[in-house]
Symmetry: C2
Subunit: 362 residues, 2 copies
């Protein structure tokens, strides 16, 4: 009942509270939106960012614009967020666009593709490199607009019960991996598995799967993989960064007063900043605890990295041949990446490398 | 006249527009603030961020809260921004806190100290590592609060007319360098020079100074240093990242309605994101142009880096002994840095290193 009321208010240009008020109040109507997430509450960096987002929007609007946050499965299944926002079942959702690459592979660029951009490159490409405009084209075809809202940073390559040294060691490996990367890694003989958060641990424990990638030390530790897999590989070449989006149903977006649209954009940036910072603060102590508990860090070998790189380039070339929108975004991302790493290796990487060397001496 | 009117309005609790309006409008009074900058307009990433900030605040508040942006020197000298905000001459300022380290060395942490944090570490330390709270203590003693608003990323070590290979080559070198780093580099025999943006080029051209550090390729190219100095060194070990602050006079801040405070915080994060992204998009093509024009890139030698590192540690230890507030912030930053680089070298750096290697092959 309440829900229907709010939707009608939105449909009517949000005019319900404006009649008896002066001009200034017309831009400040009381509305209440629902935001449904792909993440469970236990992913407190991602879930927390949505709470920060809703709280900031409420503060800015003097509590006139309320956003109610629902974790995965509370009102919509984890991987049906795009569908729910597209249909207008909810006004907003928070998700990773690559979950829906089966609908259109171009959606993968919303999260990031294998051997894509690092976190700052992704943020810069989205805002200043044309990335965000290109993606809006894709989202619009799903009746949404997409507001970038935070990045996990570079992820870990996951938990393996046995060491993986050569490409041969990957053949037949049942590996829980999300998004577009599954298509790529299957070229190396891996059997990719899509498994929801709550089912991953028992699957690995029982041996239904051989290995699992999730996010990074902060989140992985909470799921307890270190108890049943000894080797923790890096990096997740498929997620050099991983961007989240807050999706808004296009008609709902267009019905918002301009000040509320601006509040959403600014609050999303604020919440995204909170999220990336929370990962960057939470991953180091979690990694220390994991190492103290016996976890063995292993880099993917150069052979595996290079074979994966070739597979990624092949899949992206094949997909580009089929899908002009994918090609257009891929070409933009690749050009940005090439220039950016020319610069990145100069100041940023030399500073970080020196800092790491000096740390090792103390 | 206009100015006096606005200050009075602020002093009266901003109640001028509220009398004839319903409750909802009281949180949305019309006000007009001035923001004065340390940066000239030619630094369009920093100046542009202040414009983005003001525009976003206006959009969010339906044009009720207007921020007028003044470049360095238009109403307040470039390096007197803190003083002007402290005195309430202007409501807001945008500056680098390290310019004022002579007033209190603890202010240096607002921008970043030599061999401090990289950009993401700085953002995370400020928001989740206690950095921002520690800094508010410092700003409050100058009658301000400080809102972080963007980072330039790791800077370049500057332009030298001769190659610098050994610490001996630094002795007697007249080097334009900003902030707390000048004190540190003087331990290596450098004669640090504080010179405002507009005077640097002629000083280097005439030989009044021997070398200059400014920011990075995007900004440096505009000042034209490549025309008079051949060697471009990296990294700026004194600015592994460089954070900007928007300062707000404390009484003015406390007089703002809560929704306006929230709008400022969210809009500052939005503008800071815009700024860092603009540097990350602008530096790569600028570097390409500089290299095509004959600029020679040179890394600082390990000998120079290590001598500088020791000098930085000495100066920070000496300053900590004199200044408990400096010590408290330094200890917090050092602890955060140590943990963070343990993690950073795993996923982030291995991903970036691989990407750089593959780029070199294509």
């Amino acid at each position: 009942m309440k829900r229907r009321h709010f939707l009608q208010a939105a449909g009517l240009g949000l005019a319900t509270t404006a009649l008896a008020k002066p001009a200034i109040a017309q831009s400040n109507p009381a509305i209440n939106w629902r935001l449904t997430m792909s993440a469970p509450k236990s992913l407190d960096s991602v879930y927390g960012a949505c709470e920060v987002f809703g709280k900031r929007v409420a503060e800015i609007t003097d509590n006139q614009f309320q956003i109610q946050v629902f974790a995965a499965g509370e009102i919509v299944p984890a991987l049906a967020v795009l569908d729910a926002v597209q249909a207008g079942t909810v006004e907003m959702g928070n998700t990773s666009a690559y979950y829906y690459w089966g609908k259109d592979p171009a959606l993968a660029f919303g999260s990031g593709v294998p051997f894509g951009l690092n976190t700052r490159q992704m943020e810069s490409w989205l805002r200043h490199g044309g990335g965000n405009e290109l993606l809006q084209d894709v989202f619009a075809s799903f009746n949404c607009c997409g507001i970038p809202m935070g990045n996990t940073g570079c992820q870990m390559g996951g938990w393996f019960r046995k060491e993986i040294n050569k490409v041969d060691d990957l053949r037949g490996l049942k590996f829980r991996i999300g998004g577009f990367a599954g298509k790529i890694i299957s070229k190396l003989g891996v059997v990719p598995q899509q498994i929801a958060a709550g089912d991953i641990y028992p699957s690995l424990e029982k041996g239904t799967i051989d290995a699992v990638e999730w996010i990074g030390p902060y989140d992985d530790e909470k799921l307890g993989f270190q108890k049943i897999a000894r080797y923790y590989y890096y990096p997740a070449w498929w997620e050099g960064s991983s961007n989240l989006h807050t999706l808004v149903n296009l008609a709902k977006w267009n019905g918002l007063p301009k000040p509320y649209q601006a509040a959403l954009l600014a609050a999303a940036r604020d919440a995204g900043h909170w999220m990336t910072g929370k990962y960057d603060a939470g991953n180091p102590p979690a990694l220390k605890r994991l190492l103290a508990g016996g976890t063995q860090l292993r880099p993917f070998s150069q052979e595996i990295m290079e074979a994966s790189y070739r597979a990624a380039n092949e899949v992206c070339a094949e997909t580009s041949a089929d899908n002009p929108r994918f090609k257009k975004i891929y070409d933009s991302m690749v050009a940005f990446r090439g220039d950016s790493y020319l610069w990145w290796q100069v100041a940023e990487m030399s500073f970080d490398s020196f800092q790491v060397r000096m740390r090792a001496r103390t």
